[in-house]
Symmetry: C2
Subunit: 347 residues, 2 copies
């Protein structure tokens, strides 16, 4: 029998399924099932149980393997990444006043803000535990290095979140594309792509690699990922997307499409847009959302964002070639090489 | 000249001042002054700048020194404790809907809830950095051990917070004294007393001590501390206390005095109390607070709580004797020995 090479999208989904399952098999061991259940530990398991693709832990594992480590060496770090991701989702949902997450009510909608904050804090702290356990498999020195990387990632993420929340709170409407890309670099890319690549490569090489080279690759890949995510919020299939369609407009989220609209709109339109975004969220109407959406079409903002995402994906593929050309062929390497196209084609 | 032994309260204030200053001298080096300032780093420094007595870091340093380590060996850990304490204060203030902290508006009152959550997350993450830097002075193994202790402390704290928030949200009014003490053990004592003692002793002995023995001492001391704190909220001098007087009643906080009142009150009074606590905070009036306060006096709830705090302080002193009798006399040992009386006498 001749081994067949699967199509890139098939490869990506099968690797994601495999590594995501491997991560989840270990992840739930890190979630206590003790008291207090009702106000804490049942809730701590809620977001992880809702699923998700497992993109972040899979990228960590694949990078470690592509650089020569076995899956076992990366699994605790992958678990920590997924736990931290879920912790951030809970707090982000409060901060963004989001109603839905993965097709169900967000934590603060079902449990109230105080308990939701505390559940997020607990998940964030629980993400430290697998990193401390790393010492048994990776040794103390590499374990501490990965903890340092984690601290850096969390700092970058909070900086990005601060920018986005500040712009929204103060209704800052002179944000330009480079501000937006800096925010995305910090808020999205560090956790979604840069950190998984960096720690994966550290595990794969026993800490011997200069991992700053992954910042460019991770930025291009993660920014394309974020723009595609924001596009799906406007044009996707709400059911499979798991959040309310057009919710970003309602939340006043500074997306590339919104920034482009501000740049292209007439003075009168900009004033209307600014007034709408200056209102409390509850006072923004479905009609407002419809109008913004229609203006985005009229000015080609959605096509523009698609083009930017394509450009970023191309740049990510170029960086991939530079980073990985000296490594032997492997399923993991092919998976990583297929991600730039996948992030802009998924729905 | 004959060296004079200062009175215990003088000793406590002078040690607190000295160790708190030493901690603050290093703490601010860990707070970035980079961008984004307005939405993040100016705010991260806000609560630490407001001062506070520095009880937690001082207890850590004094324990380390009483067990033989120099101040320098404990300072980073003390900084981490103070940063984590400030991080928790920001989230607690949101969760408790508190308006004032150390005499100024709370973070979410001045900045809004979304930004305040993010600032707390950042401070919590920044508290990891001095613990990672410990490796240079304490070595990798003891540094990882202290990180493990920190993870345990944060877990206990979040469990205690979950209990208190759950009772409040669901208006649970059959909480008994043992439930209350378990909640205080987790929510207050782990961060305020148990953890500083445990990590201090680990530093003092190079990780060679069984630190579970500090749980009893820390529980008795910390519970006395918490009850005194709650008493000051009812009977203290609001200006030096830095929070609104009677604010705990308004917040519906389950204090020992409130639990005692539920136990002593008539059926009709219990029903009125329960109805009042079942309302949203905004609907509770100054009149309600006055009535609860008056009933607490009528049933001797405040005197009762004072007696319990005295008993706990006595037990803490007994545990101190057991733990410290074999150590040589030192200013640090005398400071720790003076704390049980101090926590119930301070105002």
């Amino acid at each position: 029998m001749i081994a067949s090479t699967p199509a890139p999208e098939k490869l990506v989904s099968s690797v994601l399924r495999e590594y995501s399952d491997a991560t989840r098999a270990v992840l739930f061991d890190y979630l206590p099932t003790a008291e207090p259940r009702r106000y804490l530990y049942d809730l701590v398991a809620d977001y992880p149980r809702r699923g998700g693709r497992g993109f972040r832990p899979s990228l960590c594992i694949a990078t470690a393997r592509a650089f020569g480590a076995p899956l076992d060496a990366a699994i605790q770090t992958a678990v920590a990444i997924e736990l931290m991701h879920n912790a951030m989702l809970i707090h982000d949902d409060i901060e963004d006043e989001s109603d839905e997450r993965r097709g169900s009510p967000t934590m603060h909608v079902s449990q109230g803000v105080p308990i939701a904050i505390n559940v997020g804090d607990m998940l964030s702290m629980l993400s430290m535990k697998p990193l401390l356990d790393n010492r048994r498999t990776l040794g103390t020195s590499l374990s501490l290095r990965i903890l340092e990387e984690t601290e850096r990632m969390a700092r970058e993420s909070a900086e990005g979140q601060a920018l986005e929340l500040g712009w929204r709170r103060d209704n800052v409407n002179d944000v330009v594309e480079s501000d937006y890309l800096e925010m995305v670099l910090k808020k999205t890319c560090w956790l979604a792509t840069i950190h998984p690549c960096r720690v994966g490569a550290l595990i794969g090489t026993g800490g011997m690699l200069d991992v700053d080279r992954f910042i460019r690759f991770g930025f291009f890949l993660g920014a394309a990922f974020q723009i595609q995510d924001d596009l799906l919020n406007l044009v996707g299939d709400g059911k499979s997307y798991g959040k309310e369609l057009g919710g970003d407009i309602l939340e006043g989220k500074r997306t590339l499409m919104l920034i482009r609209l501000f740049e292209q709109a007439t003075t009168a339109e900009r004033a209307r847009l600014s007034a709408m975004l200056g209102q409390p969220r509850a006072e923004r109407s479905a009609e407002d959302v419809g109008w913004v959406r229609e203006r985005m079409d009229a000015y080609g903002c959605i096509d523009y964002a698609r083009q930017v995402a394509h450009g970023l994906a191309g740049a990510a593929h170029h960086e991939f070639t530079l980073l990985y050309q000296h490594l032997p062929d492997s399923r993991d390497k092919r998976f990583i090489g297929a991600l730039p196209s996948w992030v802009i084609e998924r729905n």
